[in-house]
């Protein structure tokens, strides 16, 4: 039996900081949770569900619920890297459908610019208990070269070009100019991207996302609570999740886990990619976006380059407005994890609260997708479809 999700995102709050010199990690979490609850019109006392991932210090949900002074009846500490917060919304929707909770908070925070690296920020590479580490660490698999290998293979198989990848960044920059909190607000051209220094072939500096402190939080509630609040009704209509890994050496870098998480979400929602008015697509690197769009079915496999070119992702210009806050490429990639901000901007669009210059008219169906971990080795994919009622 398939249950229809009846969960709603009632609160969505992005921390305005991008460099939290004077704030502790737990302080950022506390500010996020309060911010999202305030946005929803709820209080800490209302919270009975709690989701966090490994970016929370100490003992995860145990440490932070103590700090916040809450005692939830439903806890989920699942970590799929930067996609955790997209995945969380699907998990919370299930918990709400089963009556396990009715007001759930999802939080993300991190200080990669000003803090000590923590496990939530990608410091898994030398975990002595991790079985892949001795087989990979000696080769210097830093993050950009893992994504670089995906881009190189995509170019080899499908003829994708650096110019096409650059269009993803160009579109993000067009949106970021309107976001006062964005780290990079200058509109850039394809040439600017190609002329920026090479980080790891074929990815240039401007093919890479920003590194930022901060985070955000969501409040996901039952239908009954949602209808009692004075907020637009943003319903969770479908969700899907998947893990993709190296498959014992039968490795294929040309696709992501979105090929599995996407269809699950679309099936549950009963819609198709053509129905989506706005898409938040995980953008750790330009190649992440291009491959994800193919894998979610917005275009055919191999045609992502053509799809993203010529401004097709720019709101008001192209067919599929994406990451209208400027995304991770220009605005914010807090804790090296971009999933939270993907959901938040999708909620803004559905509420009609995006910046007027980038607001998609009549935006009633949106998608948010997270890709956590590493596209070039192992990652968690999570897809959400959200609807304005």
């Amino acid at each position: 039996m398939r249950t229809t999700p009846t969960a709603y995102i009632a609160g969505a709050w992005e921390h305005p900081t991008r460099k939290a010199t004077d704030k502790t990690l737990i302080q950022l979490h506390a500010e996020n949770v309060k911010g999202a609850l305030q946005d929803a019109g709820l209080t800490m006392q209302d919270v009975d569900g709690f989701f966090c991932a490994s970016d929370v210090p100490g003992l995860g949900a145990m440490s932070i619920t103590e700090y916040l002074g809450i005692r939830p009846t439903y806890v989920d500490n699942t970590d799929t890297g930067g996609s955790s917060y997209v995945l969380a919304v699907g998990h919370v929707a299930q918990a709400i459908a089963e009556g396990k909770c009715s007001v759930a908070v999802v939080t993300l925070a991190g200080k990669p610019r000003t803090g000590r690296p923590n496990k939530g920020e990608g410091a898994f590479f030398d975990d002595p208990n991790c079985p892949d580490v001795p087989y990979e660490l000696p080769f210097g698999h830093v993050i950009p070269n893992l994504y670089g290998m995906c881009a190189a293979r995509h170019m080899y198989e499908f003829g994708t070009t650096s110019e096409q990848l650059a269009w993803v960044k160009v579109a993000a920059s067009h949106h970021a100019q309107h976001n006062p909190h964005a780290m990079l607000r200058n509109v850039v051209t394809v040439e600017d991207v190609l002329e920026s220094p090479m980080v790891s072939d074929p990815l240039h500096k401007l093919d890479c996302c920003v590194i930022s402190d901060g985070g955000g939080a969501l409040v996901v509630v039952s239908q009954e609570i949602a209808r009692s609040l004075n907020r637009p009704l943003v319903r969770v209509r479908g969700s899907g999740e998947a893990i993709k890994h190296l498959n014992g050496g039968k490795t294929d870098l040309t696709f992501s886990g979105a090929v599995w998480s996407g269809p699950k979400a679309f099936e549950q929602a009963g819609v198709t990619p053509a129905d989506i008015k706005y898409a938040s697509i995980y953008d750790s690197f330009t190649i992440t976006v291009l491959m994800t769009l193919e894998d979610l079915g917005f275009c055919k496999k191999g045609e992502g380059g053509k799809f993203v070119a010529d401004g097709n992702l720019i709101s008001g210009v192209g067919k599929l407005p994406f990451n209208t806050d400027g995304g991770g490429l220009c605005s914010n990639h807090p804790a090296n994890r971009g999933g939270m901000t993907k959901v938040i901007e999708a909620v803004r669009q559905l509420r009609g609260e995006a910046h007027p210059a980038v607001q998609v008219p009549g935006c009633d169906l949106a998608l948010a997708h997270g890709t956590g971990g590493y596209l070039g080795s192992r990652h968690g994919s999570a897809t959400l479809i959200l609807e304005r009622e």
């Binding site: 030398d126 002595p128 208990n129 079985p131 892949d132 580490v133 001795p134 087989y135 990979e136 660490l137 000696p138 080769f139 210097g140 698999h141 830093v142 950009p144 070269n145 893992l146 670089g148 290998m149 995906c150 881009a151 190189a152 293979r153 080899y156 220094p197 090479m198 980080v199 790891s200 072939d201 074929p202 990815l203 190296l246 498959n247 014992g248 050496g249 039968k250 490795t251 870098l253 080795s377």
Partner: protein, 126 residues
């Protein structure tokens, strides 16, 4: 940026890459017949623990490669598809980094890393 490959101590067992005669080896499942990488105690394709080692030809082709330019000196991270059909993460070495191309034929060369003979690959004539 300093070289991210600088040895860091781990408690892991040493990786198993080399036979006593110095050849590259792969774990192979005796039940389903499939080799796999990295080696583990159960076959990732059929869960059997009936595993053995096979000696590889040591040859393969570059599946993908990315030269990390921020390191000093730059180096090439790659996946190589071994003749045995399995891909492994490695470095492409002993060559002009700007001349490396996907699908180039390569052969294994063991280089010392953290005191361990580590399989890297150098271009060869196809």
């Amino acid at each position: 940026m300093s070289d991210p490959r600088t040895p860091r101590p781990t408690r892991n067992e040493a990786p198993q890459w080399q036979s006593e005669d110095g050849s590259l080896i792969l774990a192979k499942c005796e039940d389903c017949g499939e080799p796999h990488y990295y080696p583990r105690v159960i076959c990732p394709f059929c869960s059997s623990d009936n595993l053995s080692w096979i000696t590889c030809s040591g040859r393969g082709r570059i599946y993908s490669v990315s030269v990390f330019r921020r390191a000093e000196p730059p180096y090439a991270l790659a996946y190589v598809t071994l003749d045995e059909g399995i891909k492994m993460m490695t470095n492409i070495v002993d060559c002009d980094l700007d001349a490396i191309r996907i699908d180039d034929p390569v052969a294994v060369v063991f280089k010392d890393r953290n005191g361990i003979p580590t399989p890297m690959f150098a271009p060869v004539q196809g």
